[in-house]
Subunit: 238 residues, 6 copies
């Protein structure tokens, strides 16, 4: 897993979506409507750990208290494996904050790789200072139990319009967050690294003023030149 | 259960929401964004039987075929108890139809009390002719597997912004659909029948031209007059 | 006023918007997002009587009870002049019903010309049976005090994106509802009647198979022919 | 063309979307957000004739007058072939009406098969009385030139989120409107008729109380029984 | 008032919403859909001074000119008390800017504590440079009189879905803006300061790696330890 | 053209909208829902070069490949004139990225003045580093061909609700992007420069603590003082 996460974590999310679409027929992998709480600390990759919310039913509100024996948040925070990505299905609600600074601090301490929710987020400044990669729908002072309740965990959920199964590989960077099905992650990581590498080569040539035809998308000749450049140790001048 | 459904099925949905709000503190019980497929056949009451959908992941599409051994729709249709209300969490998507005429026909044959979804619906004319009470987000020719997949059943779901647990009592009429938590249904039914009855009495007096003050909301005097009228056998002239 | 309402009440809402745009520079007069509760009883014209709502603040909820001395609904219903149109600024909320059957019955008894709201409506079947012209955003079982509170009356409000001042002339038909500033109503009524009349003449000629050029929009020749037809007593054959 | 339209016009729109998805990989063919002006007269099929609108630029408003030499609406109405379907890209605006009664009357006289727009519509009662199949986003009294202008015609457009090329086959019924690419229409019509026929057979058996397994989707055995039933002349009892 | 503002201005908005919900039953106090124009200058607290807008009626446009004798903006800007917070009900319109640089400069000079609107804002760079705390729905070059008109002032309004009465205490920080009813502000300020203080203590212990159970939410033992820590002068090591 | 662009490029977008509204009756010139990819590099002015997209039809997907002979993107990028502004009608879709780093690099090399789209954008960090002024609806990793296809170029399009004709002058700054019809650009530029200049003068006086009446909007006396100040060489102290 570590090797896979190391590889896939170096692939940009834009490239991951291209790989998923063109090689695997998956068109709906990029979470919509989220932004990084701290743009300088937004790169992460890890397996999904999910919590599912539904609209609050007031008679069940007591169960949402962190100390209630049936509450699912506290055991999740204390038991989810280090390196996992906490995926909170916030029903797309921007008017409540799914977490606040104290839970985020504990997640950080427990070595969580990242947090993603299509709901809002509390205590943004406090969280941004932690360097815990976190994506949310936006700032929202009110606590989530104003509108939502946790009903289940480690089950399939939807975050930002994308289905996530526990164990799917979730990757984030400055562009956004992409969900890669666990069984495809190795192949997607390899394909993505290769794509990013040749596109970086093309980028340099474009930066030298070359025109698109033949260069991008690469013709057979360009691909051959790329291979020679790689074989030559990727020299700065070419 | 039959006695309860008989009672609660005679209470209007507007009254049910008032009862839930004023006597039980539940403010979010009325399903939003749905309309009856056949307004002449939209009255129903029964316990919820739920199916949960998530956005389609194309690699899992084969499981959505009705003949796939993992498909959850066919066993649900064949095994859900007569009198139950099928609650389909369509993720609020209006661009796909959750069911079509053939599944609806089988549900009708199996004695299902009603179907409610915040997704779209196919074959509306065919379904309207069946007199199967059904509420949906609107007509939608495309099949649901274009965008959605079933992931679970008989679990809590949200339909039209309202959380539904299996076994909750669902009631529909021309106004809409209301979800009553199972444990409150008896009390809500009794309170609702009483409320509807006195409001009907007030309605008659208003129709005779009386003014609101003292009459609606009823003063102690009006309540007393109502009781006398009930004791007198609810005569037409009063 | 009666003569004006009689005239303007015979002009279609589509024609009224054309008159307001072309002759008075008013582009925003047609209320959006409302539909008649009873399409067979939706024609009305009368001066606006307004009530203003804002999002509920729970500490002020008691004032929303119809019996509270500060409640504005009951005095409005009992004192607004017969022939007026009740305009309820429902903040565009479709999840609560602004009125129910009993208040509607009293409005009907008091000779109100119509009710328009961009909020939801309760007890639709009961209201439809009253033949009280009413436009609303849709059915909504929950009472309005779940989300809204009345804060003012007989002040300017917005209904469905259109500003309404008390006394503006409000006209409804099967197409929708249009607000005509009081000071323009006479001129708009005259212009509208004239427009509808010549368009009806053109409609007949189109129905006989004539082509658009010269006929619609009418050329000088067509206008002349129209005048002759009027002078001739509007004969059926022409 | 006539034979094709006759065939495809007998296939329901729900079936057409299934054919396009399963056999041709087209997932976005069903126009969203439109409803029939007259539900009793909503069945049509014909080749698309398109008009393209953009947000109004006030300096170009004079060109939108039907009598302006550059106006595209009048020549379109007078020259589009009988049997065509007028597709108006209304930019999804519900606050203006794309056509009114007089233009609709002329379209009816010219033998147009139908009109579809994701914009609003004026003069609905008048149009409903014409039995001209028309789908629109809803009623809207104001004329379209309040917000929109025609910029082109017989070019590709989008209506209700679906791309339409001139000449694509457009089919409408009570469920909605589906766009079939011209080159696929024959195959889709054949496939759709076959699908509707066997589903009708299954529907009858379901109506007799048979269970889904083996029957729907049809097993090889059911398909065989269906063929025998067809060969036997489709008897009422089977 | 100064002492109150000093206290409540040190409480975070997330904490204020918790206090309002748990101790006063107010669930709708956090303004939605606004962001600070200058995130480095967004902290403020003061009593609300309100202006109410409605959709423009073109015949009343002249009154919106700042020099018109009936214009309400100029007298508001010149007469509102220093320290007040200007609350502009922008009807949630993001396509027009409620204020520009010159009015903002005057507000800054007059000692206004802050400006909040759910409408758009012009001249953002100029305003950001003033260090005038301002929250708006986003940048919008067009002036507000393109779509809106002021109709009233110092009356209740809604900003971002939250009702504001003149004199309510409005507090802003990096998370957002919260409205505290005037009568509750003292109690909310006290409760909020106490909550923030113990949560800060817990935050430090979490940062040292302690687990949630017993610590957050605090058990009786933790509360006791907190009190001892306070009594000991809040030492850095504990 | 250079002189015009130099002039109009110094006018703020807020001022441009005021000029267009007050002097030319154009109320819809400011593109909605876009933000600069790099706020430090967002100032541009140039003539529009347009590309039009429609929802993808899967059978036409091959044409969207940059190497397909019918693809319109590559020839546009290689042939559009230096100094032009690329306007991409992204149908307002935030879920796909209209361009990525490599095409942006080529546009930068070709001397394009700016790029504006109401769709999403890929590779934001890479693009921000290029100092290519670009406005988009937000980050979106997936490539545009997941949902959209190019159907035409150098035709009128709508971007963010505003109609753009090829050759219209497009101006961007930190506030947003405004479209100025080609024929009005000279007059708007002159008017805008004059407006900005006197408003800057007023701004200084406001910053010295003067009150609004007579100063803003400027009275005849203030205008006279402004002229004297200009004639005196715009001295710092006045």
């Amino acid at each position: 897993m570590t090797a896979l996460l190391d590889k896939i974590g170096r692939v940009g999310t834009a490239t991951l979506t291209t790989q998923l679409m063109q090689n695997h027929g998956l068109f709906n992998a990029s979470i919509r409507g989220v932004a990084p709480v701290n743009p300088k600390s937004c790169r992460f990759a890890g397996p999904a750990y999910t919590l599912r919310y539904l609209p609050l039913r007031e008679d069940l509100l007591p169960r949402q208290h962190l100390d209630h024996p049936d509450n699912r948040m506290r055991p999740a925070v204390e038991s989810m494996p280090a390196g996992a990505v906490l995926m909170l299905d916030g029903n797309g609600r921007r008017d409540v904050g799914m977490l606040g600074g104290n839970l985020a601090m504990r997640l950080k301490q427990r070595g969580i790789a990242g947090v993603v929710t299509d709901g809002g987020m509390r205590d943004l400044a406090e969280i941004a200072a932690m360097e815990l990669p976190m994506f949310a729908g936006g700032p929202a002072p009110p606590p989530s139990f104003a509108k939502l309740m946790i009903v289940d965990g480690q089950c399939p959920v939807a975050v930002g319009g994308v289905t996530v199964f526990p164990g799917d590989i979730v990757v984030g960077d400055g562009e956004g967050v992409v969900v890669v099905p666990a069984g495809l992650a190795e192949e997607v990581a390899e394909g993505g690294l290769a794509q990013d590498h040749i596109e970086g080569y093309i980028h340099r040539r474009l930066a030298h003023g070359e025109a698109l035809p033949g260069l991008y998308p690469p013709s057979a000749e360009t691909t051959e030149a790329y291979r020679r450049w790689v074989d030559a140790g990727e020299p700065d001048d070419f």
